[in-house]
C-alpha cells in the first residue's frame, strides 16, 4: 500500500488533504512532531494560513531539520500545497520569518491597486501546462484548479522559470513547481475534484528512492 506522511504544524486544516489521500487508497500518517516524520516514504505539506506563522510552527516542532534531511538529503518525494509551495522559497512579502530556502527567490503579494483583480485570488482558474511534468501527467492543459491565496511565486524566479504550469490572475504566476523529488502546487488539488485527485494520484505514483 502506498504510504504518505502529512506534516501537521498546528495551523492548517489538514483534514481535507487526509481525506483525499485516503480516498485514493493511500495509507496516511499525520506527523504532528518531527519524530513521526522520520519513516516517511512521501511527504505532503499542506497549508492554509500565514507564511510567518506557518514557518514558525514548522521550526518550533522541529520539522524543518527533518524535512531538509529527508527531502534534500535522501530524495524523499515532497509535495507542498499552497503555503507548502511558498515555504520552499527564501522569504515572503507576508512577513519577516524566513522560508525553507530550498528554492531561491521570494514570494510576492498580488497587487490590488486600481484596475487589478480582487485579492485574495479565490476560485477556479485554469492552469496552462508548459512542460513535461510528473504532476500534470494525463491532465489536459487549461484544466481548472481551485485557488485561495493572496501571495504568489513570480515567473521571474528560478523556480518560476522552470514551472510546469502557469496561471493568470492580473499577472502570470507559477501554479506549480517541480525539481527532482520536490513538487509543489499553489492551488488546492484536494479541493479541485477530478483534476486535482488525478494530480495527487500522479504524486503517489512517484517511487521514493529510499525505502
Amino acid at each position: 500500500m502506498t504510504r504518505v506522511t502529512i506534516v501537521d504544524y498546528g495551523l492548517a486544516n489538514i483534514r481535507s488533504v487526509v481525506n483525499a489521500f485516503e480516498y485514493l487508497g493511500a495509507e496516511v500518517t499525520v506527523a504532528a512532531e518531527a519524530a513521526a516524520l522520520g519513516e516517511a516514504e512521501r511527504i505532503v505539506l499542506p497549508g492554509v494560513g500565514s507564511f510567518p506563522a506557518g514557518m514558525r510552527g514548522l521550526r518550533e516542532r522541529g520539522h524543518e531539520e527533518v524535512l531538509r534531511q529527508l527531502v534534500l538529503g535522501e530524495g524523499c518525494p515532497y509535495l507542498g500545497i499552497c503555503l507548502g509551495m511558498q515555504f520552499l522559497f527564501e522569504c515572503s512579502e507576508e512577513g519577516d520569518e524566513p522560508g525553507l530556502g530550498w528554492f531561491s527567490g521570494s514570494v510576492l503579494r498580488f497587487d490590488d491597486g486600481v484596475g487589478q483583480p480582487k485579492v485574495p485570488h479565490i476560485g477556479w482558474n485554469d492552469v496552462r501546462v508548459l512542460a513535461d511534468s510528473c504532476l500534470f501527467a494525463g491532465i489536459e492543459s487549461a484544466a481548472d484548479f481551485y485557488f485561495v491565496h493572496s501571495y504568489y511565486v513570480p515567473l521571474a524566479s528560478e523556480a518560476g522559470r522552470a514551472t510546469p504550469g502557469v496561471c493568470h490572475y492580473g499577472v502570470d504566476f507559477a501554479a506549480a513547481c517541480e525539481r527532482g523529488n520536490i513538487f509543489a502546487c499553489q492551488f488546492h488539488p484536494e479541493k479541485s475534484q477530478l483534476a486535482g485527485m488525478k494530480l495527487l494520484q500522479n504524486f503517489l505514483a512517484i517511487e521514493p528512492e529510499r525505502a
Binding site: 481535507s16 481525506n19 483583480p117 476560485g123 491532465i139 481551485y146 484536494e190
Partner: protein, 271 residues
Amino acid sequence: MIKHRLIATLLVCNGNVVQTRKFKRTNMVGSAFTAVDFFNGWTVDEIVVLEISDDLTYLEKFVSIVEELSRRCFVPLSVGGKVRDLTLVHRYTRAGADKVVVNSGAVARPGLIREIAAYYGSQCVVVSIDAIADTEMPSGYRVATDNARAAQNLDAIAWAKQAAAEGAGELLVNAVAHDGDKRGYDLALLRQITASVTVPVIAMGGVGKWEHLVEGVREGGADAVAAGNIFHYTEHSTKKAKEFMLQAGLPVRPTTFYKLNTPRRVRYAPW
C-alpha cells in the same frame, strides 16, 4: 480566467436532506451522502450544506453528517446553520468545512462576521441574506431571519453593504418568495446587491430551468449561481447545468473526466 461557479445546496432538517418552497419544508430527498457523491461525479464546483431544523436537537447528527460529507467532497464545502459564535464555527471547520455560512446570528450581532474573518480569514465567511420584497424599505427589500419567519427592521441592501464591510468573503442571496417556486432568481434584488458590494455574490432561490442560471450571472451580475431542488431529481443534473452554461458562452469549469484508481471500499483511519 476565474470561472463562474455552479453550487449545489443541500438543506438538512432533522438529519435528512429536504426540499423547500418559500422556506417551508416540502419533502425529504434522502441521503446527503448519495447526493454529494453524485454532485462530485457531475462536476459541481462547490457544495453548500445548511442545517435548517427548528432547534438544536439534531445538531450533533448534522456535525457527523458534515464529517462524512467532507470525506467524499473534493470541492470546497460550505457549512451553515445555527452559528451564533465561534464555538460552532470551530466545530464546522474541524468537521471539514472550508467556509462557514452565517445568517440570523450575524444579523443579531454583526461583529460575528469580523470575529470569524479575524480567526479564519474573510474567505471563510459567507453571509447568507434572506430578502423579502417590501415597499416600505428604501431598496424595496427587507431582511428576514430565522428561516424567514422573523422580518427584521433592516434594509437588505444596507445589510449587504454592512456585511461586506464587516469582513464577509461572499454573500449568498436568497429571495424568500422565489425559494422553490421555479420562476428564476429575483434579478432585481441581485442587480441591486451586486451593484452595491465588491465581494462575490452567490445567487440562490428559484431555479426551475437551466436558463435561470445564465440569467443570474448575465442579468443579476452574480459571480456564482446556486440551486437545490432542481438538482435532486434530474439525472446528471449538475453536468447538464454546466453544459448549458458553457453553451451560453459563460466561462465555467468544463466537465472533464479523469479516471482514478480508487479502492472499491475506502478505508478511513479514525480521526
